[in-house]
């Protein structure tokens, strides 16, 4: 590895992934460029079917057998290209250098193994004896705010509440001190009050563990609350990305603007008729000729239906894939 302090932890360049289906090739990701700088939290926003899961699975090389990654694609993690790694290196990557927090803490833990054992299992490569590993596990549990951790190690997942289970998942993800933590909708299964607590915890832990984070969510409120940089995805493309304040206050892409308008939490005056984005996500087997969003876009004009737009800079920290930015 030849990384310096300023190199990004994760650098995805021109990632395209397609799936072979009975109907033809389904282009789930197209020319995705994403950079996760060190010690930053990068949020990915997008609706169902925008390619968030495919993206995460590409980073961990967990794609299904019918997938095809474009030969140009590079996923550089700490200087190494994940796409060219052999199985042994991938094993060393998953769970150790990159770890993950899943959406549903109810199913992420094994119900018939005590959480202490599950946590000790994560440390199987570490040169520690069993007592030391247990101690380390208990220490992690107390870090995530589980009271009386030494005793609770012998408890099973069903003895914990949903919020507690997600805390345990976070503790497990951080046990190996990963360089990158991927959180896939970590609070969707939780109540608002617990959601606030988990987000608060993640903020605290981020200071302590100094790891970078890729935070996937469709909740704009959480993204605004937690992230430093935001990536907006639509139908397999990054359509806008930028620094969090810039993006929320000066959204350029019509899709991002509409997404922000749709959020009921942003609408100050109460109203019965809520704004929506008309139409639906295009068929990824049969892509539109021009801009991917043009069939639903209220602001489309001549070039939009002809050629796909490139990525144009709004300023140093903000870019969007929209002709309006180029022509502005």
């Amino acid at each position: 590895m030849s990384t310096t302090d300023n190199d990004p932890v994760l650098d995805i360049r021109d990632l395209s992934v397609s799936f072979n289906t009975a109907r033809g090739s389904l282009c789930a990701l197209r020319h995705v460029d994403i950079t996760v700088p060190q010690n930053k939290i990068v949020g990915i926003v997008g609706e169902s079917g925008c390619g968030k899961s495919t993206l995460i699975n590409s980073v961990l090389r967990l794609l299904s057998p019918n997938s095809e990654v474009n030969a140009e694609s590079e996923v550089i993690f700490q200087g190494d290209d994940v796409m060219k790694m052999d199985n042994a290196s991938l094993q060393g990557l998953r769970g150790q250098r990159i770890s993950m927090i899943f959406q549903d803490p109810m199913t992420a833990l094994n119900p018939v193994i005590s959480i202490g054992q599950q946590m000790v299992d994560v440390l199987y490569r570490q040169d520690l004896n069993k007592a030391q590993k247990r101690e380390r596990a208990a220490e992690m549990l107390s870090q995530v705010g589980i009271p009386d951790p030494m005793r609770r190690l012998d408890d099973y997942p069903h003895q914990f509440s949903g919020g507690m289970r997600q805390r345990i998942c976070i503790a497990m993800a951080l046990m190996m001190n990963p360089a990158l933590l991927i959180a896939d909708e970590p609070t969707t299964a939780l109540d608002v009050t617990l959601e606030a607590q988990i987000i608060h915890l993640m903020k605290e832990l981020r200071e302590k563990f100094e790891c970078s984070m890729l935070f996937v969510s469709h909740n704009l409120g959480l993204i605004a609350e937690l992230c430093d940089e935001v990536i907006v995805m639509y139908a397999g493309e990054v359509i806008e990305q930028g620094e969090v304040h810039d993006l929320f206050h000066r959204a350029q892409h019509p899709y991002t603007q509409m997404l922000l308008e749709c959020d009921p939490a942003r609408i100050a005056e109460t109203r019965r008729d809520l704004p929506t984005i008309t139409g639906s996500v295009p068929d990824l087997v049969d892509l539109p000729k021009g801009c991917i969003f043009s069939p639903r876009c209220p602001k489309r004009y001549a070039p939009c239906d002809e050629t796909p737009p490139g990525t144009y800079d709004v300023n140093d920290v903000h870019s969007a894939r929209c002709f309006k930015v180029r022509d502005a």
Binding site: E47, V192, T193, I199, H218, H245, P264, A265, T276
Partner: protein, 360 residues
């Protein structure tokens, strides 16, 4: 005119251990109270929101109204007719008038039946004859904005939003007066969420429906409901008009819920946590005010005495010894109404309860 639906001191209890266990362990009460003396009414054409965390009893209350769980005490009246204690056969009549939309849209449809079958099932169950079911299915799909092609689709072929629409269509089949919607927007994307709510709103206008919306999504309920009840441990801790509750929340729990919703604006980040801890177990209800274990304003009186459920302003009820009199006080302790409206918060110390304020 009587209320369309009226619940009075409804109590739902679940048995936690059997008779033998109860005797062996010497328990005095082998029951838990999932819903405790809850009263409310629903008028024609009105939307009533039930809000609370998981375990607050909101779904149980919804299920008790439609008779899926038995309420042990109190009364639930539909157009003046008592529902509690009815036999299944007698209940069936009322289920034509009160329909339910279940929480998980895909799981609530049979995976082996087509959409056409699922949405016309109410006709079969209630023995409605003399109708062309194919025609009815088409009519219902049109009503919820799905095209005919979905008639032969199976639930796994539907997206979350489409499955939700099928759920609405099925609930509407027998032209009910009340629809109980359990988490109607859970798991949906924001843009689709708006579509479902607009659809429900349109149907309400056209058909004069009443909704009982069970949810924990405060930003949504603020736009769609006329009145709200906030539930905690099976009790209503605050009820009132939606406007009143969002502008002048009286109960600290309501304040905590409102503050827990993150605002989609990076300039309004919260650096402190408002509500700590989790909802206590129903088997072990706290003494005194049941919220005192999580309440940042709890005082000696709250630990000793259960507060009365009293009217803080006309039509606005709360059970708190020290209800917030004014939203400015809420702001002074770092809690905001949602989203931020009006002028900058003014700090008025004397109106605040002294004590553990610094936890905020």
């Amino acid at each position: 005119m009587p209320d369309l639906l009226n619940a009075d001191k409804v109590r739902v209890r679940f048995r936690t251990s059997g008779l033998v266990q109860t005797l062996m362990k010497g328990l005095d009460d082998p029951f838990i109270d999932a819903v405790m003396h809850v009263s409310f009414s629903l008028q024609a054409g009105e939307t009533f929101g039930l809000v609370g965390e998981s375990g607050s009893g909101k779904t149980t209350l919804g299920r008790a109204i439609i008779g899926l769980v038995q309420a042990q005490e109190g009364s639930i009246k539909f157009q003046g007719d008592e529902l509690i204690g009815l036999k299944d056969k007698q209940y069936k009549e009322f289920r034509r008038e009160i329909a339910m939309m279940f929480q998980d849209p895909i799981a609530s449809l049979s995976p082996r039946k087509t959409v056409r079958y699922s949405i016309t099932e109410p006709f079969r169950i209630h023995g409605v004859t003399g109708k062309d079911l194919g025609e009815e299915a088409r009519r219902l799909l049109r009503l919820v904005g799905l095209h005919e092609g979905f008639m032969g689709a199976y639930p796994h072929q539907l997206s979350g939003g489409q499955a939700r629409r099928v759920g609405v269509a099925r609930a509407l089949a027998l032209e009910p007066k009340v629809i109980i919607a359990d988490e109607p927007t859970a798991g949906l994307d924001v843009s689709v969420q708006g579509e479902i709510l607009n659809l429900m709103n349109r149907l309400q206008r056209e058909m004069g429906l009443s909704y009982l919306i069970i949810t924990h999504n405060l930003p949504v309920v603020r736009h769609v409901s006329d009145r709200l009840a906030i539930m905690y441990l099976g009790r209503f801790v605050e009820t009132g008009t939606t406007k009143e509750i969002f502008e002048r929340p009286a109960h600290p729990y309501t304040l905590g819920l409102l503050a827990a919703v993150p605002e989609p604006d990076p300039d309004k980040r919260r650096d402190k946590l408002e509500l700590e801890g989790e909802i206590p177990s129903l088997m072990n209800r706290p003494k005194g005010c049941e919220f005192h274990t999580r309440c940042p304003f709890a005082q000696a009186k709250c630990l000793a005495e259960a507060p009365e459920y009293k009217e803080v302003s006309p039509g606005h009820w709360a059970s708190c010894h020290f209800p917030f009199p004014d939203p400015a006080d809420a702001k002074a302790v770092g809690i905001r109404a949602m989203p931020e409206t009006g002028s900058a918060p003014k700090v008025d110390d004397k109106a605040l309860h002294a004590g553990s304020r610094d936890r905020f």
